[in-house]
């Protein structure tokens, strides 16, 4: 019985990944545009760093190579993190827009399967897209990664996945609460994360209250840790506290977000919001 249930849920889990793959393939022109946009954004940040010397910044006063790498890592990671965040948080918006939301919500599957299926598809797609952009960056910039500790960077990257998905699921609740404004609110959340998580600067430059908020953002630990690993060869042992914090955040955020999603679904069913037009 248990085995059958698990097989049923696994089948649905695969169904969500398969569906997203088909959607990405069918909307290839949009996807190409977004990829180009992301690529251009990352390259712009890279060239901004490369051009600092022509803007009057003395080579002796700042390590331009390190700055370039610092900003490129931030831009690349943000591209990946924001993409995964966007895909997960738009799980509901997209279905409402297509008009399929009722069919997905009345399917005989657990909501956890639905959300994890969407998360898995987003992760796979996010990694593929970030890899393409990463290859372009490596090809266009002469990066010195001789000190990089790839194992630590990978471990931090993996640990960041859980809290990131939790945040994404939390944000996907917004369109359930407000069909009209939920989408814009998700963009606002993404914007706040960009501001407080130290994507392009250390959070120490932020004013006090924002710095405190930045310290509870999992992206702060991810960006800082990955930078330390790639720029200064941070060892895995030294990164363990950050990995621990990220995992702890994930352990709290994922179940909490799934629970909140369930409560939002109950509310949406009460108010009649689970439909195409809202």
């Amino acid at each position: 019985m248990m085995g059958n249930t698990l097989r049923w849920e696994m089948n649905a889990f695969v169904g969500f990944i398969e569906r997203q793959k088909n959607l990405y393939r069918r909307y290839w022109a949009w996807e190409a545009v977004w990829l180009l946009y992301n690529l251009v954004s990352v390259l712009s940040i890279g060239y901004l760093a490369a051009g600092l010397s022509t803007l009057g910044v003395e080579r002796s006063s700042v390590n331009l190579q390190q700055t370039e790498l610092y900003l490129l890592i931030g831009a690349l990671l943000w591209t990946y993190l924001s993409m995964v965040f966007f895909e997960v948080s738009f799980a509901i918006t997209w279905e409402r827009w297509e008009g399929t939301i009722e069919y997905t919500f009345m399917a005989p599957i657990k909501r956890l399967t639905h959300l994890l299926g969407m998360c898995a598809a987003s992760l796979i797609y996010g990694i593929l897209r970030a890899a393409i952009i990463g290859l372009a960056v490596v090809a266009l910039f002469r990066l010195d990664l001789s000190h990089a500790n790839w194992l630590t960077a990978l471990a931090l990257f993996a640990a960041a996945t859980l809290p990131l998905l939790g945040l994404g699921i939390f944000t996907s609740i917004l369109p359930l609460l407000s069909p009209e404004k939920g989408e814009q609110m998700a963009f606002a959340v993404q914007g706040v994360l960009l501001l407080i998580s130290g994507v392009y600067y250390p959070i120490t430059v932020l004013p006090g209250p924002l710095r405190v908020v930045g310290m509870v953002s999992p992206l702060t630990y991810t960006l800082d840790g990955v930078r330390q690993a790639l720029l200064h060869g941070l060892s895995l042992a030294a990164a363990l506290p950050d990995i621990g914090i990220l995992l702890l955040m994930g352990v709290v955020l994922v179940p909490a977000s799934v629970w909140c999603f369930g409560r939002a679904e109950v509310r949406a069913k009460r108010l009649g919001l689970l439909k195409r037009s809202g």
Binding site: W8, N11, E18, E102, K269, R276
Partner: protein
Amino acid sequence: MAIHESELNRTAVEVEGISKRFGEAVRPHRLMPWRKAKKPKLALDQVSMHVETGRITGILGANGSGKSTLIRILATLLTPDAGTASVFGYDVVRHPAQVRRHINRVSVEASFFKEMSPWENMLYAARLYGSGGDGTRDRVEAMLDRLGLPLDTLDKPMKQLSRGQQQKVAIARSFLTSPSLLLMDEPTTGLDPRSKREVQELVRSIRRDRAATVLLCTHDLQEAEVLCDRVLVIDQGRVLAEGAPAELVRSHADVGGSLEDAFMRLTGKRLEEDEEEKEE
């Protein structure tokens, strides 16, 4: 999912005193006084009904009469404010997972991922209902062939299909999951007469071959007359009459009258009048 032997001869749908109101009667918000409170609308008012397994039951009513609200409650997409509803003995609010395993739905809008093909949409649906492996493509082709849909449309994006073709794919999608209870909300709206007849024949066949129960919301009183074992006339959220079509004609229409005449007598208006009122 097909019904279990023990579920045969059971009541398929039991609805007791269901009410549903949209929009709460609230005072203007203290902090946002410019925001007007929505006028509440009573969509269902103490509706009760009983549907036996293996029957086709029609729900007749104009737009806004509460038909779709009732269907959405049974589909576990909406919770009632009062009353209870159960499907094969499972309460739609307390046991939605069990209810979902027995039902599927065809709505008036063919709801699909528009860029994806009929095959991709149906494969996705099959996956959510525990199948999608070997043999699914053959089943999908057989189903669409039976509905008279050219097989060369199977891999084209849905948006390139006509409204009628999309609706046929929606019907095939619901049949693919072999539901014990099929909730059909105006499934033949927008179909040409030939397609409409093909769909009606298919509805009969799933009842005949699979002992499935069908709840059919329709505007088309002729369709209800030929397809349904029983009908329920609903207006402004209230059930006005219930019975076999012939019984309703006998009780509510003049001699030689039709179901439409009975409907007019019961609701005090024609369906078209209601449509006009709504447009105004």
